[in-house]
Subunit: 195 residues, 2 copies
Amino acid sequence: MRGFLIIGNEAFTGPFNLSDLPGAGRVDVLCRCVSQALFLSHSIRKGVEVYLLLLGKPDPPKAIRIRSDELRRMSPDERNIAGHIRKAVSFRPSGEWLEVNSGVHVSRKNLDELLSELSKSYRIYYLREDGKDIREEVSKLRDSLFVLGDHLGVKREDEEKILEFATGILSVSRLSLMADQCIAILNYELDRCDA
Amino acid sequence: MRGFLIIGNEAFTGPFNLSDLPGAGRVDVLCRCVSQALFLSHSIRKGVEVYLLLLGKPDPPKAIRIRSDELRRMSPDERNIAGHIRKAVSFRPSGEWLEVNSGVHVSRKNLDELLSELSKSYRIYYLREDGKDIREEVSKLRDSLFVLGDHLGVKREDEEKILEFATGILSVSRLSLMADQCIAILNYELDRCDA
């Protein structure tokens, strides 16, 4: 298993316009992360979970879980993925996971609740430019879930929370990359290690 | 300098609907390639050129050149990049490069003409799953331009043409990745090598 959790600091938690994803609290960033995490050319990876934590208006927090092994009818373009996200945030969920499409679930969880749940199944790693070089560490990783911020990064108090649960801090580049690029690189390094 | 050439086998060469990029001959694939090639978090890379060869209806071929060092007003989401592509294909260019926005040019060139021009400035590498491992080769690369197919790959006759100009065939993964993922990985390996 591999997991990715992306924090959408301002990502809308209610209806938004599919023709203005940047204006929906940068839902476009989350869509690209999902695309990079789940898709291969003409197929979907096995055993990958993506968690999106949406913290924007009007009804935060909402968490979305996408399980590659159960996923149907998603394609790698931003608008298609955004359609799935929009449907998920149209619900007002409880703290339990509610399936809104095959492989797509939504729940009412804050960062603490989400990390607490994920830490039962995964070893959690926080991605930060000054972390340990992924290439040195990748062979030691098993059942890892990587936590990344969106274009705004991760707020100080959220970072403190993540570090309570994290096994370590990893870096994929000294350059400041976009979150979706970090995910593409993590998959690449993990694939090489598996091969 | 780094360059990427992506062949859009069916990418529309006339007006298309920004709300249906997959239906425009998979312009979404080209947009994601541009995003991965040019953007960092909150900035644009220096010294990168992206070439898109659009071969779809109604007026093929059209080539688009995007130069990172001259680029203005582009953001990394698919719809924004697609807007630039749509503007470029609204022109009926000659064989010369015509600037349609700062850093974005269009011309009437087929694959042979484009490779002939690019081979004066770049060493050309073809990306294919069975090529030499990028990690073994990256330290030898200088002023490289990488040629990739879209979701349909590269047609046999186009491949023969590319190989006439190519210095070598490289692979980033034994998995069949999407073109934009290959670009993210190429940038990553080149960045590590530069560091």
